[in-house]
Amino acid sequence: MKKLMKGNEAIAEAAIQAGCRFFFGYPITPQNQIPEYMSKRLPQEGGCFLQAESEVAAINMVYGAGGSGARVMTSSSSPGISLKQEGISYIVGAEVPCVIVNMVRGGPGLGSIQPAQSDYYQSTRGGGHGDYRMCVLAPGSVQEAVNLTQEAFDIADRYRNPVIVLGDGLIGQMMEPVDMDEAAHRAPAADLKEKNWAADGHIPTEDSPRAIINSLFIDPQVLETHNLHLQAKYDLIAKNECRWQEEQLADAEIVLVAYGTTSRIARSAMRKCRERGIKVGLLRPITLWPFPEAAIRKTLATAKNYLVLEMSMGQMVDDVRLAVNGERPVHFYGHTGGMVPTVAEMVSQIEKLAGVAPLHDESCVFDFGKAMDEAAKKLGEIADTVGRKLDEAGKKAHEAMTSPDVKDKAQEAADKVTAAADTVGQKLEEAGQKVNEALNSPELKQKAQEAAERIDSAAETVGQKLDEAGQKVSDAVNSPEFQQKAQDVGKQVSDFATRTAETVTKGMTGILGAIGKAFESVQKDLKDIEAQQKAKDEKPSDPSGKEGE
């Protein structure tokens, strides 16, 4: 059964279900739900949660626990991960398995607490001092975060190397349905061996001698040998653990490359462009290291352009360029500092590369023209109703005049006309309000003029129909039969006519007022658009996004 879970909490539970019983952490936004969840759940599982005095201490507690053979995890966000780098380097050097979650936020420095992907270099290039690599898993959904967190423990144990789960503020904070049943009581992978190397205070045996967990190799030759041994492990990780996802790549001329949160936005952009026949596909690296270089190379068969999309100033783009090796142009588009790129922005980048004219997609941007069309249509319908109701009223008045019970009927007819006219007035007011609301929305574009014309024509129709209805009422009132019967019902008819006139006037005032306001607004917005267009023409490019090549 699927349940709705926040990314951070789902990751914590997934870790517990994968056998993690030790967690050491320090508070930092946006990952606090992980330590909070662990502090509640681990004691229930006979495990240990400890809030360390610093990220530095936390990662060293992880080193101790991992060195003693336990499945252990820590989590943090960018500035905290920077603090952990010393410990991570030691952990790698001493070959201790552990899982480190980084819910990336905007940097550098204290940066922001919004989602970012600006720790790509740090994660994929080692991060701390020395020559090393770690498997970096980048989930694109809460479900994938659960699956990858569990796999992370196996990968860590398999190679005696830390594994990074690289999310971002959005993956951590977002709630999505996840299947935790599948994740429950996940056994370690079958190929994993006993940790006979662990410093757990065991009595030394031939198979499991005295443990020395250490990253110090003072003899240069010994250290080089150690590094070659580590490198052999990294080569194995690169060979065995590379993960990626391909979407619509078979005929893709434009290949989007994006991971994590950005890949979801890229997917939407890709689908929109596919609907218009643009041959665009998405390659989503799931492991950032090892980077799916071969998968990128495969797309060269159809690719004319690559577009790398990131929430950074462009970091993964380097790996794509290394993979493409100059054979095709590799472009970059991204936002940084916690800004998240939109589908419309990505579509616009794809349009540029595809050489097609921009299309304002209704689901990407607010379509003012469409809204105005709808408003005009509604106004037209209301005008029709006004006409029809007035027609009916006229007819009924006529009938009343000619009936034997003219007195009663006239009264009744008058009441009905009054009610109908009230409704008309109200509806016209509402229509005016709707027009106003539509006009007050910010995305007023070139369709304003067109829409204004439509309103004009609708208003004309209203006028025309009111004229016609008025004529019919007049006809009815001026008929010989009416004249004859008028004497009997003079007073009521007089009242009725007065009321009708008043109500219709009120309705007309309402609609004219609304239309007047609408025109004022349209005029003002058109002026604004002109001014914006002028300002845009003077500026050479859009400052919000960084564009490459």
Binding site: F22, F24, C48, L50, A52, E53, S54, V56, A57, A58, N60, M61, V62, Y63, G64, A65, G66, G67, S68, G69, A70, V72, E86, G87, Y90, A94, A198, A199, D200, G201, H202, I203, R210, A211, I212, I213, N214, S215, L216
Partner: protein
């Protein structure tokens, strides 16, 4: 012929790399003997520091982990939480523990982390070549205080045992010296007691051992032992600073 003395089996056969006259070797042996006599040595887990004792994992004949500079108490915390029944100890110098690792030692102590810390205080950075330490005495000449430690410029020595004794977490804190045989015997008793209380789950235990560094003090081994006695002990008074098992009067600690 009867064997009247032999090397403790808790030390490996590897020759110490320490300088002539350095008292690290004595302290290593005291720790190994204490663990051995308590029959907890074979399954003990030690954490080596960064400093002169960085190669401690080569000497202690039990499971060992090498920590980053100052982080040994955090590493030992991780180990102890996974292996709560084992004797876990850190062996740290004064630069490691009292400078870069102050946060880790204070928090391990205040958590009452059930580990034993052997804190070797020789008032100088030995391994890196004799720089000023947090424990360097006022006026003491080092390579980074060539005019003598000026307390107006770089402050006063840190008294770790006194400081940690103010916390509730520690069960036992004593400062000892190894400058002569009677003091060496006292030092061993203190180390043994610390491990014993750890195994009884009483809390954090630490023995601060005043130690010599003839090489970087620029003295002969004999001069160094005398300098320890005459110059260091007045700044770092010996004695029990915390003992939750002692009678109230003795628990107050202080200089002997």
């Amino acid at each position: 012929m009867a064997v009247v003395f032999q090397k403790t089996k808790l030390l490996t056969d590897k020759p110490f790399h320490y300088c002539p006259g350095c008292t690290h070797g004595i302290i290593h042996r005291l720790v190994a003997e204490a663990l051995d006599e308590l029959a907890i040595g074979e399954t003990a887990i030690g954490v080596a520091p960064v400093g002169c004792a960085v190669f401690a994992y080569d000497y202690f004949n039990c499971d060992m982990m090498e920590a980053a500079h100052g982080r040994a108490p955090a590493v030992a915390t991780g180990i102890k939480r996974v292996c709560p029944d084992k004797a876990v100890f850190t062996y740290q110098g004064d630069g490691d523990l009292a400078s870069i690792g102050t946060a880790e030692i204070i928090h391990a102590a205040t958590r009452g982390e059930k580990i034993t810390t052997i804190f070797v205080n020789n008032a100088i950075y030995g391994m890196t070549g004799g720089q000023m330490a947090p424990t360097t005495l006022p006026g003491q000449v080092t390579t980074t205080s060539p005019y003598g430690r000026d307390v107006n410029h770089c402050g006063w020595p840190v008294r770790v045992s006194e400081m940690l004794a103010t916390l509730n977490g520690p069960a036992y804190i004593e400062r000892v010296s190894v400058h002569d045989v009677p003091h060496i015997k006292k030092a061993k008793a203190a180390i043994k007691k610390a491990f014993q209380l750890q195994m009884e789950g009483k809390g954090f235990t630490m023995v601060e051992v005043l130690s010599t560094c003839p090489t970087n003090w620029g003295q002969t081994p004999q001069e160094a032992l005398k300098w320890l006695q005459d110059s260091m002990i007045p700044t770092y008074p010996l004695g029990v600073y915390k003992d939750i098992t002692a009678q109230p009067a003795a628990a107050e600690g202080g200089a002997q």
